[in-house]
């Protein structure tokens, strides 16, 4: 019995681990083609002039993701023109959570006037490649001759409730380091977020 339990525990921890595997700092990102809210597919290669990307796994329903919506929009306003556009990807399964449907994504983008793409990842393929585990979960990429390299993984800042006077803006700092030709001083951070709602079965 005890042995069975241990095997069970190992299986559980393996399952948890397999979900958090994914790109590490320095890895080259494989390009993808996902449907945007305008019904057209989008790839990283479509951004010919980009110097890099701010990939944000986010969604319609998570309170933490919602708290960061405006800050994600600001990142796009501040950095798209500097060559680092925001690409938002919804990793959640709409069958698991109906409010995560493509139509609800379109409605949210319209309501909040998203000026950045908001892509659907229906089979979690890209989500798993990145190893995104929660929303919001950010990956900052830097475009090089070798491809798009992951340079930062983690939170947008350390202040979800906008209450911390000593806020550290991790994504902004990472991009300013990259723009100066340096590696981000802080390349990975942790944050509380909503677990991804995986497809059942």
């Amino acid at each position: 019995m005890k042995k069975l339990f241990l095997i069970g525990l190992m299986l559980i921890s393996y399952a948890a681990f397999s979900q958090t595997e994914g790109y590490k700092i320095g890895d080259v990102v494989k390009d993808f083609s996902l449907k945007n809210i305008n019904n057209k597919n989008l790839s990283l290669a479509d951004f010919k002039d980009a110097k890099g990307f701010i990939i944000v796994f986010t969604c319609n329903t998570c309170p933490v993701a919602k708290a960061y919506q405006e800050r994600v929009a600001e990142l796009n306003v501040d950095y798209a023109s500097k060559g680092y556009p925001v690409i938002a990807i919804n990793p959640n399964d709409a069958e698991a959570v109906p409010d995560e449907s493509f139509e609800k994504m379109q409605a949210l983008a319209k309501e909040k006037n998203f000026l950045f793409p908001y892509l659907l990842d229906p089979d979690h393929i890209v989500t798993k490649q990145f190893g995104a585990s929660r929303t919001p979960h950010v990956f900052v990429l830097n475009k090089t001759d070798k491809g798009n390299i992951v340079e930062y993984i983690g939170a947008i800042d350390n202040d979800p409730e906008v209450e911390n006077a000593g806020r550290t803006n991790y994504v902004k700092n990472a991009i300013s380091d990259l723009s100066a030709g340096k590696k981000p001083v802080i390349a990975s951070t942790k944050a509380i977020g909503c677990g991804i709602k995986w497809k059942k079965g």
Partner: protein, 144 residues
């Protein structure tokens, strides 16, 4: 400071929590980190209630620490605790810097919830996972 169980939910800092545990002598604390918006967390809360009831006469203390936003304390967390008739002690974590508190609770924690900490004066084990009741019971039993 008084800590009697009620449907009250108070704010707690990690320093307060550490003080609380330091005064616990032979008590084993089972500390679950959850939030009202986290569906797997909500799903496993009855297992923690059951663990609390079944160990009521033992030196075992179940504490639920909500990571909901502080602004949601009155509107969401307290009503949730009342509606779901949760009798365990519930606190809302009062720490401004996630990066700092996540590391301080456990270096291996990615920040995903549910997560549960088993701690007594000799030992400390952290689990970033969901617990079924049999798993929870077994983990407590094997925790010395």
């Amino acid at each position: 400071m008084s800590y009697q169980a009620s449907s009250q939910v108070r704010m707690i800092t990690l320093n307060d929590l550490d003080k609380r545990m330091a005064g616990g002598k032979d008590t084993t604390y089972v500390i679950n980190f959850w939030a009202t918006w986290c569906s797997p967390c909500v799903a496993e809360l009855p297992n923690f209630e059951k663990l609390r009831v079944e160990n009521a006469k033992k030196p075992v203390k179940v504490i639920l620490i909500s990571l909901d936003f502080k602004s949601k304390l009155q509107k969401e967390v307290i009503p949730f605790i009342k509606t779901n008739k949760i009798k365990a002690e519930v606190f809302l974590l009062n720490e401004p810097d996630q990066q700092q508190y996540i590391e301080r609770i456990d270096k291996k924690w990615t920040g995903a919830i549910p997560a549960t900490l088993f701690v007594n004066h000799k030992n400390r084990r952290f689990y970033e996972k969901e617990f079924t009741y049999p798993e929870l019971k077994e983990t407590l039993l094997n925790f010395k």
